[in-house]
């Protein structure tokens, strides 16, 4: 299945740890919308080899299957969609206090 999909190169920033994507100018972006979408399998392997060489910038470079779209590439795998979007939860710790008021009311 993966052979038929376009790819982007992803990794984590070595220092900060956040998810990054390889851009067409050889840099790294936090946004998958700015990732270079590679449709040729051999080209993807070459780009990955290049990215692995960025060993003091990123960690764990690998290829991610994507579906190209009008608003940027969309990862195929569930895990990669979460990596691209960030957590589905955004802890605020504010509702705890609201809940406490509710309970005490």
């Amino acid at each position: 299945m993966s052979r038929t999909h376009a790819k982007v190169v992803s990794a984590n920033d070595l220092r900060a740890g956040h998810t990054v994507y390889l851009t067409s100018n050889g840099g790294w972006s936090r946004y998958i919308t700015q990732a270079e979408v590679i449709t040729d399998e051999a080209e993807a392997q070459l780009r990955l080899l290049d990215a692995i060489g960025h060993a003091t910038v990123v960690v764990g470079a690998y290829l991610v299957d994507v579906e190209p779209g009008s608003d940027g590439p969309k990862p195929v795998a569930l895990r990669e969609r979460f990596r691209a979007q960030g957590p589905s939860i955004h802890p605020s710790k504010q509702t705890a206090r609201a809940e406490a008021r509710h309970v005490s009311a």
Partner: protein, 556 residues
């Protein structure tokens, strides 16, 4: 509480300096990631989905008010203002930068905290009953032994590269509050002919091959603890499998060789090792034990607890769930739920950590515990202070009274954080808790342990949940398998692994399925006295399976 001595402090300083240098060498490229990874793991540093994660050890779940304040400081200065308490009584910071971790470790070392061996194929944090040293039903405090194990296992040269990680849990009470049957080694303090010793279990563990530990020794004299543990580890190190990561845990070693063969291997090692122990460990244990003496508890206390229960139903409802009997009748242990419906189970904000530290300092003899259910315990509180403590917890948003109820869900971080996860856990836990709170059914349902894991590694202990939920990725969509009848084990029910009910459910179908299941329980039970688990034991699984799959359209 155990106070780090000069040796401990120097050890941590050296270790942190060593790790700082390792980080620098990784950043400069003189260490490759393959070389660096095992080094960072041994210092609690993971690379997760979105960020580095730092897992800080809280040995046997015990920490002081000052240590809790430093955790709050770490959350605020270097993370996003919160931390996540885990089922192994540790805390995880989800958003730290690798470049900050050496500073974080130095700050923590100032209050005797560290992240050593909180990951990697070594002996991990030894967990213990969260009520240790306080509970009325305890034979002896297990924490001095846990501390002895910590000192013995830290940087133990022979056990730094085990076939796989190794977890020890210890309890001093007949009521197992440490899930010892689910650990590589489970220790239970028992008495035989007036002598204190251990019942030793081996080979428990969850993950993809859940197994309950078997009895290796019915009684081990307490003085033989370290040589016997060393013998277990040596036998495992020799015959444990290193060819397959999934068959490398000691549970597989015990299963493949059989408990009798494994016991013989342990005894053979023990005969060699025992003579090398000539009493130094017992002298050290005596020094350690002195530091775990009960605090100097106040006397001549007022009856505010009983009088407030009589007039304040909100307080009475909280106290009925949160307050546990203490060794001293005029004191109690207080469990603080980190499980407010709609919040992330086990998370605490920096403000909440500080509030807990303040309460512990003013009313709790400076001591806090983390439970394996991801809650917090104030082990020693004078009963006359309980109403004041309740009011302070209310102000901090920490007075939920759902301990041991449906809302007290154990959930792993799941797909929202974890690099291994196959599905989300936390938002599902939030939806379940909120749904049943909205229905007003939580109290009616009564005692229920619901545990959620976001992958087959089972960090959420779903196998041991009365209801367990396992999240998987099925063809690119989250799919949740439900198990029923699991149990951690107590005096009433032995530990048991839950049974899988059938096909999994799509994310949206889980809450309706649980509602059908629990309404069926309410219909079928013999009055409110019969818990969900009792009803499952009496009726068997069939009516509950039928309820789960009553709406076949829900089954994915």
């Amino acid at each position: 509480m155990y106070q780090h001595n000069d040796f401990d402090q120097a050890f941590l300083r050296n270790r942190n300096a060593q790790f700082r240098s390792q980080v620098e060498r990784r950043l400069s490229g003189s260490l490759t990631e393959d070389e660096f990874k095992p080094l960072r793991l041994m210092n609690g540093v993971y690379l997760q989905l979105h960020a580095y994660m730092l897992r800080v050890a809280i040995p046997y779940g015990t920490l002081s008010a000052d240590q809790m304040r430093v955790l709050a400081e770490v959350a605020e200065r270097w993370d996003r203002g919160y931390g996540h308490f885990t089922t192994r009584q540790n805390i995880q910071f989800n958003w730290v930068a690798l470049t900050d971790i050496p500073d974080i470790l130095d700050r923590m070392a100032e209050v005797g905290m560290h992240a050593i061996q909180s990951s990697g194929n070594c002996i991990r944090n030894t967990t213990a009953d969260a009520l240790a040293g306080a509970s009325a039903d305890e034979l002896a405090d297990p924490r001095p032994y846990a501390e002895l194990i910590r000192q013995w296992s830290t940087d133990h040269a022979e056990f730094q590269f085990l076939p796989r990680k190794f977890k020890i849990a210890v309890t001093g009470s007949p009521e197992d509050r440490a899930a010892i049957a689910a650990h590589d080694v489970g220790l239970q303090l028992v008495e035989q002919g007036g002598e204190i010793g251990f019942r030793v279990l081996v080979g428990g563990g969850l993950g993809r091959t859940p197994m309950l530990a078997q009895e290796l020794r019915a009684f081990l004299p307490s003085a033989e603890l370290l040589p016997y543990l060393e013998a277990i580890l040596s036998a495992y190190n020799l015959i444990g499998r290193r060819d397959n990561k999934y068959k490398a845990r000691i549970k597989i070693t015990v299963f493949e060789h059989g408990i009798d063969t494994f016991r013989a291997a342990v005894e053979e090692q023990f005969a060699k090792i025992r003579p090398a122990y000539t009493g130094e460990d017992q002298a050290l244990l005596a020094e350690i034990a002195a530091q775990f003496a009960l605090p100097d508890l106040r006397e001549n206390l007022a009856e505010f607890d009983a009088t407030t229960r009589a007039v304040d139903p909100l307080y009475a409802a909280w106290a009925a769930r949160a307050v546990t009997d203490h060794k001293r009748a005029d004191h109690a242990s207080v469990t603080v739920a980190l499980k407010v419906a709609g919040e992330e189970p086990g998370d605490a904000s920096a403000a909440q950590m500080r509030a807990l530290a303040d309460i512990a300092e003013r009313y709790g003899y400076n001591e806090l515990r983390i439970t394996h259910s991801q809650n917090v315990v104030l082990p020693h509180v004078a009963r006359e202070d309980l109403p004041t403590v309740h009011a302070a917890l209310l102000r901090a948003g920490l007075a939920a009274a759902n301990m041991g109820r449906l809302g007290d869900i154990i959930a792993c971080p799941g797909m929202d954080y974890c690099a291994l996860a196959t599905a989300r856990s936390i938002p599902l836990a939030q939806e379940i808790a909120q749904h049943f709170q909205t229905l007003g059914l939580e109290e009616e349902i009564g005692a229920l342990n619901l545990k959620i894991s976001g992958c087959i590694n089972a960090c959420g202990h779903h196998h041991l949940g009365h209801i367990g939920i396992l999240g998987l990725d099925r063809a690119g969509a989250e799919n949740y398998q439900i198990t029923i009848g699991g149990h951690e084990g107590d005096k009433k029910h032995p530990a048991a692994i839950g049974e899988k009910m059938g096909p999994g459910f799509a994310y949206e179908a889980v809450v309706p399925a649980l509602e059908r299941l629990l309404r069926t329980y309410l219909d079928l039970r013999n009055g409110a006295e019969e818990t969900f688990l009792d009803a499952v034991k009496r009726l068997g699984l069939a009516p509950f399976r039928a309820a789960l799959y009553a709406e076949v359209r829900d089954a994915a």
